[in-house]
Amino acid sequence: MSDRIEVLKTYKTYIGGKFPRSESARTYKVKDSKDNIIANACRCTRKDVRDSLTAARSAFPGWRNRSAYNRGQILYRTAEMLEGRKDQFVKELTNTGFNEKNAGRETETAIDRLIYYAGWTDKYQQVFGTVNPVASAHFNFSNPEPTGIVGIVAPESSPLAGLVSMIAPVIAGGNSCVVLASQANPLPAISFGEVLHASDVPGGVVNILSGYSDEMLPHLSSHMDLNAIWNTISNKKTRKQIDENGALNIKRVLHTVNHIWLDDENHNPYYILEFQEIKTTWHPVGN
């Protein structure tokens, strides 16, 4: 048995519930903290961004129309799956330079975030929705509804907990998303795609791309079919570009830079509200 060669994983992308290679067929090297090459990741381009948007758009109606309760069940299932694969993620994180303790915290935080937002899926409407007093014979309700497709630029510093802290509130609220994984360390993100895939999250609700953010971000942020973008890159020029491109079709733009993603302040229902539209309905009442 000692002659056995270990089977290495080919890291691909996660688009539309499948794991294709980048359309460009290009890859880049992922290194650990000592500059050793540990894997090749897909270097995605604008065409992968385009394909992800198409997948996210077609998945959106089905996902938003799931009952809130069912979305909660699915998020909970995702947490269960991640718990079961905890060792794999801890190993992936330690390979890239995390120490054992921090890798454990990173993974556990990700699991806890999923559980947290699983609980919110059928409650945020009650917290953020209102019944409004009006001076006529109508019931008047304001209710949050998902905005559509959210672009997520995941943080470099926290490749798993940060990533999950962003995906969970977005999909808990019924949106679908296109995620640009951490550039330096995309491996946990791609493996998280496998967890989503095994958890009844419909294909296309979450799409995960690896590569150079400066190659993909302009095409993502300018895409007319993207409804919102959540960015963690602190570079001023990048943020300005996102703001300008966001203005093209009035995307919701949220910048959360320099966050310590493991802190408890990073789980709160207001992150769900960031990607909701408020719909007000007038309903006539007799008397």
């Binding site: 604008r46 300018s222 079919d225 093209l248 079709n249």
Partner: protein
């Protein structure tokens, strides 16, 4: 003269299906980029028969479609208008009124489209009615049941009778290839329609799946080519149904160019029967010109 023709509709010409598919696949691998792509997209746009053939069609819908035919996207005023608007006979006057002052033609389906299961006199009546209403082009269906029975002369006579009723009006003959079963039958039906007087041959009604496919289109284009080489007479081609993406449209244009040559690359000799293709072409044109990926929300929904 009929006896001397080389390609007739009574002979079974064997077709290498694998060969056809390989040729299509090879031509599909052509890469068309930048300026050529913009040219191809605009050309495809100008070849569209913008179609609405639903039981719930209303004058309002037809009017909207005609406006779109004249000016596909108001934010890009320089775009070509489409080739024609294709409607049911009862909607012809509505379309005619909207398009009167333009080059956009009004095409009408007839002969009891899409099934064609009525007697000949009713088909002729249907055709005459459409022409009276002002149709510039007639899209007729063949009797597939009779064709499959081997009753070729019956089908031939029907097409010839409709052609007679059409006079100078352009006649497109729909083979409904999805019901013909084999590529041999497609080739046979193509010759049959051409010899009976078709100005255009058209793949499908759009009501049957599969509708237009590239292998079927290639076989029909080759029938047109063989007829042209033999007689010097050009016949038009119209794939219809199932062509929704700009990329597909460009692949069809490559098929035409490589099989028939550039002379066929005009709306006079090649058409797309489509509706949703228009918006995808427009989105691609805007993408090419602005560099920004587009969203259907910003294009008229019809």
């Amino acid at each position: 003269m009929q006896e001397q023709i080389k390609y007739d509709y009574l002979t079974n010409y064997p077709i290498d299906e694998v060969g056809v598919e390989e040729r299509v696949a090879r031509l599909n691998s052509r890469s068309i980029k930048k300026e050529s792509k913009i040219q191809a997209l605009k050309l495809a746009l100008s070849m569209i028969d913008l179609t609405t053939l639903e039981g719930k069609d209303s004058p309002g819908k037809v009017i909207q479609l005609c406006r779109k035919a004249l000016q596909p996207h108001s934010e890009l005023p320089g775009l070509p208008s489409v080739a024609a608007v294709c409607v049911y006979p009862t909607m012809v006057p509505v379309a005619k009124k909207e398009l009167e002052a333009s080059d956009v033609k009004v095409a009408s389906v007839s002969t009891a489209f899409p099934a064609g299961m009525v007697k000949l006199s009713a088909k002729l009546e249907d055709t005459r009615f459409a022409i009276e209403q002002g149709a510039d082009e007639i899209d007729m269906v063949i009797s597939r049941g009779e064709f499959l029975k081997g009753n070729y002369n019956f089908v031939f006579d029907e097409i010839a009778a409709v052609k007679d009723a059409c006079g100078d009006v352009h006649l497109k003959v729909i083979l409904e290839t999805g019901e013909l079963g084999t590529l041999e039958n497609v080739r046979k039906a193509s010759f049959l329609a051409i010899h009976a007087g078709a100005d255009f041959i058209k793949t499908s009604t759009g009501k049957i799946s599969p509708a237009a496919t590239q292998p079927v289109t290639l076989v029909m284009l080759e029938a047109i080519r063989d007829h042209y080489l033999e007689t010097g007479k050009m016949i038009g081609m119209k794939p219809a149904g199932g062509i929704r993406k700009a990329k597909q449209a460009i692949q069809y244009l490559v098929l035409v160019k490589e099989t028939l040559g550039a002379a066929w690359l005009t709306p006079e000799w090649f058409r797309f029967g489509a509706s949703s293709l228009t918006n995808d072409l427009l989105m691609q044109i805007v993408k090419q010109e602005s560099g920004i990926y587009q969203c259907t929300d910003y294009f008229s929904n019809d």
